[in-house]
């Protein structure tokens, strides 16, 4: 009973915090809300007209939604790079950042689920997928694995920080006995979500571009580069706008993680390119389409030739300690690395899988305005959720939010 009362008070205090702020904060939230509304409007059109309002066709049947989904699974998985050092290796330097990382994972997962639902042809019969209620094709379909691991990871990433914050809110220490087993589980789980998502594509013999043993490991490497890169940017922003203290040491350590992951990612990229282009087979056509275009069709060229140089530039710059230790250079590198991997792991991966088609037909894909609107709306949703979570967490960690203290 008491717990419920405390929880009620927490919700009230949290609402209080997130509805108050300076002008910049209100503008930020206002813009996000507006984008979400636009996204919802676009989605309502898609619901009534069907998926024909998107650029997807029978030839390229997955597009922007699934691309973003794939990328965001990686961002969510990246929280492990903070969780493991903090809870398992007891590295105090990560302690401040870990809650932010988990908040980021939660919002990334919410975006993932939203993208999957946006991509569904029949969202009204999604209950067919609920285990027990519908028919869950487990373990045959990798998609059911993905549903399980994503929701499990979401659960872990909500409960662990919630437990810690809930204790801190009451002015008590969180008992490590309670949350450390969960944290250790979430470390394995994070690797699991991204590997399973890779298997989703890797297991299709119909698509040689995906049916590649390196896909899973490469997913992990790029995720552990892009995710922590985003975390660095977010931490930098939080440091700038709030009283929350994040030490340089923490950022430097995360930067180290980003660097190593980006280097490994680059090695794997070289390996992939070598295989596709040294002795090209019929199965290399998708790669040819992606990097050079096929039969005059070259819609993806500008994208991939933006991504690759950015990726290389960021990795090389991060490799030099002098450059990496300069915050401005670090933020710039993280930003371009994030963009590069978003392109590469997004439609640089999904779209060429369908081009050329099973019989060599090349028909290209361009997302429509409605598709982009929904996508932006979902990104805004993620940012909105993250802002709410981060504001509450920071409030509690700074001691501004305390149970009873603010009860008059």
């Amino acid at each position: 009973m008491k717990q419920i009362k405390v929880f009620g008070s927490l919700v009230k205090d949290s609402l209080d915090t997130i509805t108050h702020g300076n002008v910049k904060y209100h503008i930020w939230m206002g813009v996000l809300t507006f984008m979400m509304l636009v996204g919802m409007y676009c989605y309502s059109i898609q619901l009534s007209e069907g998926l024909q309002v998107t650029g997807m066709t029978d030839r390229v049947s997955w597009g922007l939604y699934i691309s973003n989904f794939t990328f965001l699974v990686g961002v969510a998985a990246a929280a492990v790079m903070l969780v493991m050092p903090t809870y398992v290796l007891h590295d105090v330097d990560f302690k401040q950042a870990v809650l932010i990382g988990e908040g980021l994972a939660v919002s990334a997962l919410i975006m993932c689920l939203a993208f999957v639902i946006a991509d569904m042809g029949g969202p009204s019969v999604l209950w067919h997928m609920i285990p027990g209620l519908g028919v869950f094709n487990f373990p045959n379909s990798m998609l059911t694995w993905d549903v399980l691991v994503l929701n499990g990871y979401l659960f872990l990433n909500i409960t662990i920080p919630f437990y810690i914050l809930f204790r801190h809110y009451q002015g008590k220490e969180a008992k490590s006995k309670v949350y450390v087993p969960g944290a250790i589980l979430s470390v394995f789980w994070a690797v699991g979500i991204h590997l399973v998502t890779a298997f989703l594509y890797q297991g299709l013999q119909a698509r040689p571009f995906w049916n590649n043993a390196l896909l899973g490991p490469r997913f992990l490497a790029s995720a552990f580069a892009a995710g922590p890169a985003l975390i660095i940017l977010v931490l930098a922003m939080i440091r700038n706008f709030t009283a929350f203290k994040i030490e340089d040491k923490t950022l430097k350590k995360i930067a180290m993680v980003v660097t190593v992951a980006a280097q490994i990612n680059l090695i794997m990229l070289v390996s992939e390119l070598f295989k596709e282009f040294y002795a090209p087979t019929h199965h290399s056509e998708s790669a040819y389409y992606l990097f050079f275009g096929l039969h005059g069709k070259d819609a993806l060229l500008p994208w991939i030739w933006t991504a690759i140089p950015l990726n290389i530039l960021a990795t090389v710059m991060l490799t030099f300690h002098k450059l990496r230790n300069n915050p401005k250079v670090l933020y710039f590198c993280c930003f371009i690395l994030f963009i590069a991997i978003w392109i590469e792991k997004g439609f640089g991966l999904i779209v060429p899988g369908f081009i050329p088609g099973p019989y060599g037909k090349i028909s290209e894909y361009t997302p429509t305005g409605i598709e982009i609107g929904v996508t932006l709306g979902i990104w805004a949703l993620g940012a909105f959720v993250f802002t709410i979570l981060a504001r509450t967490a920071i409030g509690i960690e700074l001691g501004q939010l305390r149970y009873k203290k603010n009860k008059q």
Binding site: G50, S124, H128, Q205, Y359
Partner: protein, 376 residues
């Protein structure tokens, strides 16, 4: 329609229990008011008793759809589900029965819609449930359009395994098969969805699909070209079936790979998994002019689809299970298409497989298609 044999959630939206009392909602006790479907009948005493028993304990004996999981003893979870379900029923019932202007027909329509929304996976239904489902769909069509369709729920027969052979030497690219297929299977006319693709290939280049044209608009046969058709190959080891998260697509015992359009959630994973471009998606609501609708339908075949679901070639299940050839085979003017029972040693298809040098596409993928190509 209110057959008491039903194994799914039923609404009784304040309709007079017309069927069981033998009287009609319009007040007449003898037929002819027009609100009954043709298969309504007067109940005998026995049937009435059976119906009464069914009404009281029927739920315990027979389950389907929503009910497939409602068969456990009441625990907290079940109770919660039941509560949710009854809330939904309540909302629907209130909205329909409070409406003064809606007559029996619209109430029946609402009930059918409800039952359709929460029915189970066709693959897991018993024969009676399948029958009841197609009856409901036929009634729904009648209520909506005033016209009758016949829909079959015929299962696979024993000792039948369908196979298909395509004679590359004979095909001239007339595309009569494509047109026949579209008409037979009620495909969306607007987006010109076609299950069959005819690839026009250059002589002397062999089977180079990437240089082939599967969308030609000129007189055929074109000089220096040959033609080759592809469609769903009804693989014995279909990759599309494994990946479906809800088992909305499966291989029937006679080898047909089918889709339950109402169970499909539209994730298009099967489409990505198919190496043969055999699947099509309804990106919009499919539309067929009323006059062109083929009224001879099968639940797994050419019944009307809705937007946001997958569909595909079923070897015209409504025809093949009735002992006829698929529409493409019948329409082909050159005799390039051969269809039959692989388990019948005297069938033409068996003769082709035994006497011609046959091959299949992408055999290295291990999908075991039941679609062979050969040349004279």
């Amino acid at each position: 329609m209110s057959s008491n044999n039903k194994k799914w959630f039923s609404l009784n939206l304040g309709r007079k229990s017309s069927a069981s009392s033998g009287s009609c909602g319009c007040g007449k006790t003898s037929g002819g008011c027009g609100s009954h479907s043709s298969d309504d009948y007067e109940m005998t005493d026995e049937a009435f008793v059976a119906a009464a028993v069914d009404a009281s304990i029927g739920e315990e004996r027979t389950k389907d759809g929503f009910e497939q999981v409602f068969d456990v003893k009441m625990d907290r979870r079940t109770a919660f589900k039941k509560l949710t379900a009854s809330l939904l029923i309540g909302a629907g019932a209130v909205s329909t029965s409070c409406s003064v202007i809606s007559g029996d027909e619209s109430k029946e329509k609402a009930q059918i819609d409800w039952e359709e929304q929460f029915k189970g996976n066709y693959k897991l239904m018993t024969d009676e449930e399948k029958k009841a489902t197609v009856d409901r769909l036929m009634r729904s069509y009648e209520l909506r359009t005033g016209k009758n369709i016949s829909m079959s729920s015929k299962n696979a027969e024993e000792n039948i395994l369908f196979g298909y052979a395509f004679n590359i030497s004979k095909c001239q690219g007339y595309m009569d098969c494509v047109n026949a297929c579209v008409e037979e299977n009620n495909q969306d006319r607007d987006s010109q969805m076609q299950y069959i693709r005819i690839h026009e290939m250059k002589d002397g280049n062999g089977f180079s699909f990437d240089e082939a044209d599967d969308n030609y608009y000129h007189e055929v046969p074109a000089e220096g070209h040959f033609y080759m058709g592809t469609q769903c190959f009804h693989c014995d080891n279909p990759p599309c079936v494994n990946v479906c998260p809800v088992q909305a697509t499966w291989r029937e015992d006679d080898g047909l790979v089918v889709v339950d359009y109402d169970w499909c959630v539209g994730c298009r994973y099967c489409m990505a998994a198919c190496p043969y471009d055999g699947r099509r998606f309804n990106w919009k609501k499919p539309e067929v002019p009323e006059a062109e609708i083929n009224h001879n339908q099968h639940y797994l075949g050419n019944r009307m689809r809705k937007k946001g679901v997958m569909e595909k070639c079923t070897f015209c299940v409504q025809r093949s299970r009735a002992g006829k050839n698929p529409a493409c085979v019948e329409a082909c003017p050159t005799g390039a298409r051969i269809f039959g029972n692989l388990l019948d040693p005297n069938s033409t298809i068996r003769w082709v497989l035994e006497n011609k040098k046959v091959f299949r596409l992408k055999e290295d993928l291990g999908t075991e298609p039941k679609f062979w190509y050969f040349m004279d």
